[in-house]
Amino acid sequence: MKSIFIAAALFTAVSAFSQTAVNSSTFGMMEARWLGPGTMSGRITAIEGVARDGKTIYVGTAGGGIWKTTNAGASFKPVFDRYCQSIGALAIDPKNPKIIFAGTGESNMRNSVSIGDGIYKSTDAGENWTKLGLDKSEHIAKIVIHPQQTDIIYVAVPGALWSSSKDRGLYKSVNGGKTFEQILFISDEAGCADVSVDPEHPDTVYASTWEFRRKPYSFNSGGNGSGMWKSTDGGKTWRELKNGLPAKPFGRIAFTLAPSAPQHMVAIVEAAETGLYISADGGENWKKQSATMNVVSRPFYFSTIVIDPKDPKRVYRPAFSFAYSNDGGYSFAEASNEGGWVHSDHHALWINPNNTNQMYLGTDGGVYYSLDRGATWNFVQGLPVGQFYHAAVDDRKPYNIYGGLQDNGSWTGPSAAPGGVSNANWKSLYGGDGFWVQPDPADINTVYAEYQGGNISRINLISKKAVNIKPQQAPGEEKLRWNWNTPIVLGAANKKNLYMASQYLYKSIDQGRNWNRISPDLTTNDKKKQEQENSGGLSADVTSAENHCTIFTLAESPLDEKLIWVGTDDGNLQYTTDGGKTWTNVAAHYAKAGIPAQTWVSSIEASRFDRNVVYATFDNHMYGDHKTYLATSNDMGKTWKQLTSGEFTGFAHKIRQDLVNKDLLFLGTEMGLFASTDGGQQWFRMKNKIPEYVLARDIQIHPRTHDLVIATHGRGILIVDDISPIRNLKKETAEKDVVLFPMAPVTLTMGQFGDGGFPGTGGWVSGNPPAVPPIKYYLKDRVNSGEVKVDIFDATGKLVQSIPGAKRKGVNMVSWNLSMKPPKVASGGTKIDFSGFLAPMVLPGDYTIKLKVADSVYTTKVKLVHDPSDKNFTLEDRKKQYKAATDLYQLHERLAAVVDTINDRQKMLKENMAKVTDSSLKKSMQSYHDELEKLRTECLASKQKSLFVDEKKLREEITEVYSGVTGQEAAPSNLQLQRITTLQAEVKKKEEEQKQVLKKYDVWVKDRLRQEGVTGPKEKKGF
């Protein structure tokens, strides 16, 4: 009894402690940049649009959540980032388009398919979501809403892919999703794959059931549980439809009815001979039609068939490619590639019911839209939902990221680019499904990439020519077994070592020209798990996706190239300490820590701090077990300890230890990215613009920039720039209210890139990392009261800049552009003079940063240095440029003073003019005003009649030279300097002229005003 209370108290203490300890909020402004790209996008699983406006469209993705556009696809934003990212189905209430249902867990049951956690509802057009239930559904294929009584909803749940389940079948809600009833259940093995409601007789409901199962080494689609069903009482009773359909067993059935003539139905029935069937009487009788391979191919993966909302004869079959029929499905034609290639493998189609020429197609490579009923297609470039499997980085400046994606080949793109990283910056390297890509650290023009089943090539980055370097079976060896996602790994200790693996481990030290097999078969070599030729069920599907008893992951110790770890998909975890001569299997040891045997070893991290320390992740979801398995050993695998956390969700893909702080760990799972700063005792979910349930497949830390690079399976590449503040954050530091971090010397620069010039023309563009290291500080809590400000002083104590400070909890960043405060420019005129936004960059030297947080001040120093390697801009050049820029700066301020005085007097004259009765005084005042006005209009541009009339007066003349000199990283030219001298003379002239005018009128006018009993404005000091 007492112990329970102590436990409860302890629990409270721990959770209280973990609140003040480091967590996601500690990262503060260190938020992820979404690199995308949008150029290859990713698998789309559901598209629904608002019929009323035809431009509000929701896109459900395989691993990137839900994206919404309100402009027919010109731009998108994600609306489901706090929830499960795998979307199976979407539905919009036809009466109230703000009500949206989202079923998680896509039902394109490929080997890499993710898993959902139920159905969600939004009542405000996607802004907020509530989970309704069906938590154990795992996969949802379709949601259909009753056309009139929109509280009635049908949900087709195929259910679990990797295990038996009672939570499958057809569900119905009669109260808008508050509760669901299972209204069609076949068996633990067969779920519901499709559902339709007759819009004219909504009690008539059709459903197809599907028996299917995946194992790690095989796939089966088909069984007696599959069938075609009809109910005429809203799902109370069901009757199986058989007339004219082929002999059972069936596999997956995709079907639809014509919304404008619901008796007309088409179905693709997977059977011994898969075929296309048509019914003209509401499914009572079916007739087989001849169909192309495309129309009937891969039913488990291509389960979409749609009939035009208005025209019952127009049938669409998005499948491997896009097919359409004009005669109710008797014959099909294929979409043209006239408007560009359309990515293969289609899963979703939305047709605007009010304009049936307009439609949106979801493929394995993003969304396309058509304005001509699907004959030609345009690619939507702004959806960054690529499904990376792995990522690697190189050491160029800026560094590049490399990676392979589901059905989208292998790509490389820069971490920064002029104007931001856009689709155009990404380059395709290799085809097929992409997985591992490794840039050769010793040869900057060489990269290794692969497509499924171990088909590796050495690719020249300039010519993009590829040389196949796949190791071949040697005499006396068993047939080579390559994983779908075959590891290609570079040595962590010796970068020249290139590894790849089938059931054997291969090593090359000459870029794959020659390979040495350095292991025996390291798998269990269980023959029962090697019958892939029979995979698929009713439809053969042999793609290497089910290859098993293969090596899946490997790692060379950063401390010793002879120490290599290998993990297999059938549970073996082996190491060698002699470069492969002898191997030790530690599978039995990790099992003792509670990790199931035969688990897929998904990643291994050999510590760079201690050769005996190793971390590994284990993925057992293919046996229906979704737990997060992460374990570590500090005795070379003899004993293991599981690292666990209540925060963990999703099966584990990747463990990464920081390069500097051994206690900083990152874990990527199917449902989130997690971090620990204490060696794995406590973990927190990473947020900060990282979707909370992101499919985090791979993690890299860049050794030079300290960036965290995350390869996601649905959100492309995410980068958290420079994680060193977290790396260096000590627990006691985190307990302090405010910490201003010390700054390393900063090289003076106007940025990494020039302006580029041409604005972006759409597509996905991610921001760049900061060009100048920001000033960083830590706040234990958000500052709600009092000011936060950063002041920068030069070595003489002069205030150079003052910047409002961020006030977030965690790490805050303030960008100083290394410049002074912009000059005060002559005010008024017809245009904003942008000199008012421009300031000379300061000179190298020591500067003091003062952070003011409410009443406290924190101080640190920063040394600004000139880059001596820049031959085009020497220190001498810099000094000359600074001198010229500050000379011009002063000219602006002097001219501003002249104009201020003019404005001041003009204001006084205008205010008093009406009060004056004496006509001679009035006349003088008018002359005074006019002479000032003449002078003013010589000082700055005052006329503007159109956008392209650039009136140029003295202010604008100064700006031309000032903006040139201030913005250049070069010494001023001879003519720039000459111009400054001229302008100095002109400003002096204006100062003189202004004095003359004042001398002529000012005292006299003011005296007269006083005599008139009118009080003028107060005299300004110094004039």
Partner: protein
């Protein structure tokens, strides 16, 4: 025994969830910012501040006369622009955006802008004003787990506010502004809360998408010449 404790814990948890209604959170918020009585006395607000954008200072003055008018003056390097709204008309003149002369607000913009005439903020007597509240659970706002509340306004677009459970101040608001047939989401973060002599607490620092506005002066119930709400 264990089960008993557990069920007690669950009951407690359920109770605390239930306790967080929108009404209660908002009433705590109103207490935190000075109480409804003090806010009800507010008839006019004049705020002056500096917006730092791209290193340059933009001076901003906002004047609200409760229920009668709102005017905003913006000055950038001697170039002056303004916007005002009354119950019946609205005009804007933003020469920095290339406008040559003042332009009237469209009927839609005018309707959307009516909330700006509320000098007390929409939460004071929200029910009387015809607004309703919806509690949407907790959500992380820049690292602080906040209460999320949607204000469904009588006119205009709904606004979502995020209230800090410690201070009960609003840390952030999100609204969708409809303009020219487009929807733009505006996110504003609030800080530098300060208690004024009138007993009310106001945010003197607002982070907008294009910069931070720091108020230098806040005047409550000063005289407002209604002539400023005319073109």
């Amino acid at each position: 025994m264990k089960r008993l404790i557990l069920s007690f814990l669950f009951a407690a948890a359920a109770f605390s969830v239930q306790a967080q209604t929108a009404e209660e959170i908002v009433s705590k918020h109103i207490e935190a910012i000075g109480g409804a009585d003090n806010w009800r006395k507010v008839n006019s607000v004049k705020m002056e501040g500096i917006l730092q954008a791209n290193g340059a200072d933009v001076s901003v003055t906002v004047t609200v006369l409760h229920g009668k008018g709102m005017r905003q003056d913006i000055s950038v390097m001697g170039m002056n622009g303004y916007e005002f709204v009354t119950p019946t008309e609205g005009w804007s003149f933003m020469p920095f955006q290339g406008q040559q002369q003042p332009e009237p607000k469209t009927a839609e913009d005018l309707a959307e802008s009516q909330d700006k005439l509320d000098a007390q903020g929409s939460l004071i007597d929200y029910a009387k004003k015809g607004h309703t509240l919806e509690y949407l659970g907790k959500e992380d706002v820049e690292g602080t787990e906040c209460f999320k509340i949607k204000i469904i306004k009588k006119g205009g677009s709904p606004e979502t506010i995020f209230i800090d459970p410690k201070s009960f101040y609003v840390l952030q608001s999100k609204s969708t502004v409809k303009a020219n047939g487009q929807e733009v989401e505006v996110v504003t973060s609030y800080s530098n809360y300060e208690k004024l002599t009138e007993g009310i607490v106001v945010s003197k620092s607002m982070t907008l998408p294009f910069g931070e506005l720091n108020l230098t002066k806040v005047e409550i119930n000063g005289t407002v010449d209604e002539a400023i709400f005319k073109k």
